[in-house]
């Protein structure tokens, strides 16, 4: 086995690539979690977004319009959730799961109805979200491999991590949101409309989820396949929990997963049993989470101990 061809510099960009779809889903989950809403429906929102993006891109040839429509589609799905949950007291996880089923069903229906095929759809007429190509890097193998041809969405995902951190921890809105999620009564008595905030975050979450979908279907690839999200929405929720609803930490979770996943793809080529390689990213993510919390636990216990003087 050649380590050099496994731990190759292309692994870095591969990690980003594998992490980005999950990252968008994770951010969609982070923002609602801040208002104490577990957005299990990310999966369905993404799928709807992916479908809408492919349709619009195929019929209009405009990726920008496609991206916008996918955001709207995601928002529609999330607003159904928000409405059911906030107004009609649906259990958030139940409505989330239901939304996932609905998205699966309507996209399946839509692919037949609008695209006239079944299962999956690809066409050269699908216009992709552009990739950033810097001609200057072309001649350098490393620069080219590392930084060239990033999808706009991959860059945007990273930007979003910081935008969201800024929103949550620096702005008025973020402060209010955090109070809504942690102690709604306190927010209510400060004159904040708790439900309004909840609708707002669901809307943002839907938009992000829609973008995540568009990234899948017209960014990372140019196709739509039934259930093409394949659990990436759920992985996003897991990453959100991994990062304890903090955008940067959730991003780290996504990168960790993306890295081990990409690494696994390379290891398999050398005859490692596929199932073990494929389960590795999941196990490593759990292990890292457990170890980091264990360390925190030990640290806190030490800080509290009477036998230790500061």
């Amino acid at each position: 086995m050649e380590l050099s061809s496994i731990f190759d510099f292309t692994l870095i960009y591969a990690t980003i690539r594998a992490a980005t779809p999950i990252l968008f889903a994770a951010l969609a989950a982070v923002i609602t979690q801040q208002a104490d809403i577990i957005n299990i429906g990310t999966e369905g929102i993404m799928l709807t977004g992916a479908f809408a993006a492919v349709c619009v891109s195929f019929f209009t040839g405009s990726w920008l319009l496609a991206l916008l429509v996918s955001m709207v589609a995601g928002a529609v799905m999330s607003m159904i959730m928000a409405f059911a949950h906030i107004k009609y007291k649906a259990d958030i996880c139940a409505i989330g799961t239901a939304i996932n089923m609905l998205a699966l069903a309507i996209t399946k229906f839509g692919i037949k109805q609008f695209l006239g095929t079944t299962g999956s759809f690809t066409s050269p007429k699908i216009i992709a979200i552009p990739k950033l190509h810097i001609a200057l890097f072309d001649n350098n193998k490393y620069l080219n491999g590392l930084f060239n041809n990033w999808s706009m969405m991959e860059i945007f995902g990273i930007i979003m991590v910081f935008v969201m951190s800024f929103l949550l921890y620096r702005t008025v809105w973020g402060l209010r949101l955090r109070s809504v999620g942690r102690f709604p009564m306190a927010a209510e008595t400060a004159g904040i409309h708790v439900n309004k905030m909840k609708y707002q975050v669901m809307l943002i979450s839907g938009i992000l989820g829609g973008m995540a979908g568009a990234h899948l279907s017209i960014g990372y690839s140019q196709m739509f396949t039934e259930n093409m999200t394949n659990g990436r929405g759920f992985m996003g929720v897991a990453a959100m929990f991994f990062g304890n609803a903090n955008p940067v930490m959730a991003w780290i979770g996504c990168l960790l997963f993306g890295f081990t996943d990409s690494l696994g793809g390379r290891l398999q080529s050398y005859g490692w049993p596929s199932q073990f390689v494929l389960m590795m990213p999941y196990i490593i993510t759990i292990a890292v989470l457990a170890v980091s919390l264990w360390r925190k636990y030990v640290k806190e216990a030490k800080a509290k101990s009477s036998l230790v003087t500061k």
Binding site: D36, I38, I80, A84, K87, Y88, K89, A90, D91, C93, A94, I95, T97, A98, I99, M101, L102, L104, A105, I106, K108, F109, K112, R182, F183, P184, M185, A186, E188, G231, F234, M235, V237, A238, A239, F241, F242, N244, P273, Q275, F276, L278, M279, Y282, I283, T285, I286, L289, A290, L293, W294, Y297
Partner: protein
């Protein structure tokens, strides 16, 4: 009074979702009356149809109960799917590897193995949560993938039947659960499931175990102070939940297939979890909701078989059904909803 309301609400919700489903079908140019007739027929009329409903009901019921058990102690166990897979694999292995044992003992061994393996699997997220506070939703989502890959490895590797299909050798005939209502796949696992549910129901409402689960779930600090170990209790509930998940897997294998088939459950436990969530883990309502989902699923098959309504539309209508079924307060009239909200919001907020 209050209980009656719950059932009436559920009924009204179903009626509304049917109405909306009908509108959708009309728009798309299908005859809703015929479709619903076939849905009904597909779920209830004839041995095959009714049998299919019952057969689908069993794993839904057990997995939703497994979810309810853990939610009693405040653990959101998304991992029932993994427990189901591994329990199924354990039952299948015992079923084919120990041929020649007396059937009753063999059967008990199959179930015991499934329960132990399911429980052991659930122990991981349970103890991580209890001891380190690792979020169980995250861990169980990830562990489901791991469980699936483990069974996939076994069924394609060491435990493969080597027939070209990814499956284990068939279990001994003695441990197969008798099928009835042939040609459907309904089987006596139904009665095992009902017994399990009754036992769990009794355990939750009439035993100190149930009391301890509830106590820890509602206020772990209080539980600790009165002498109930919250960590131990949480782990015990997860063990029980895992064991029930394992039983669900064992019943599927011994009742439906007779061998472990790779990937046999396409999200059974997710549907079970959905059933539990819709009724907010109310243990009395869970069997009803599980049955309702089973009816929908097998009715959908009928609708697909005997009407021109294509599968994708059938799926859409079922999904719309479920979306509406989740809305608890759909029929709580405006004024009462407001009162309800006020009462809820007046409780001291969640301050973790």
């Amino acid at each position: 009074m209050k209980i009656n309301n719950k059932y009436i609400n559920l009924l009204l919700t179903i009626v509304v979702s049917m109405f909306i489903g009908a509108v959708v079908m009309l728009i798309l140019g299908y005859n809703p009356l015929e479709a619903y007739f076939q849905l009904f027929k597909g779920a209830f009329v004839g041995k095959l149809n009714l049998g299919t409903t019952l057969q689908k009901f069993v794993p839904l019921l057990l997995t939703s109960i497994a979810f309810v058990i853990s939610s009693r102690v405040g653990v959101f166990n998304v991992g029932v799917e993994g427990e189901l897979y591994l329990g199924a694999m354990a039952a299948a292995w015992v079923g084919f590897a120990f041929k020649g044992l007396p059937a009753p003992i063999h059967l008990i061994l199959c179930f015991a193995a499934a329960m132990v393996v399911g429980a052991a699997w659930a122990y991981i997220p349970g103890s991580l949560k209890a001891r380190l506070g690792v979020n169980e939703v995250c861990v169980t989502i990830l562990m489901n993938y791991v469980a699936k890959f483990i069974t996939s490895y076994l069924v394609n590797g060491p435990l493969s039947a080597k027939t070209g299909v990814p499956q284990t050798p068939a279990v001994a005939d003695g441990v197969k659960l008798t099928q009835f209502m042939k040609p459907s796949q309904a089987h006596t696992g139904l009665f095992i499931a009902i017994v399990v549910v009754v036992v769990i129901f009794w355990l939750m409402s009439r035993s100190t175990t149930g009391y301890k689960f509830t106590s820890v779930g509602l206020n772990p600090l209080h539980a600790e102070y009165v002498g109930i170990d919250p960590k131990k209790t949480m782990i015990r509930a997860m063990l029980l939940s895992g064991a029930v998940g394992g039983i669900a897997g064992a019943i599927e294998i011994l009742g439906v297939y007779g061998y472990f088939l790779d990937n046999f459950s396409s999200g059974i436990a997710m549907d079970g979890m959905l059933a539990a969530l819709i009724v907010k883990s109310d243990i009395k309502m869970v069997p009803l909701m599980a049955f309702f989902l089973a009816v929908l699923k097998s009715g959908a098959l009928g609708m697909e078989r005997y009407t021109g309504v294509p599968k994708s539309i059938v799926d859409t209508i079922i999904a719309i059904f479920i979306v509406f079924a989740t809305m608890e307060a759909l029929f709580v009239f405006n004024k009462r909803r407001k009162a309800k909200k006020e009462e809820q919001s007046a409780l001291p907020g969640k301050q973790n």
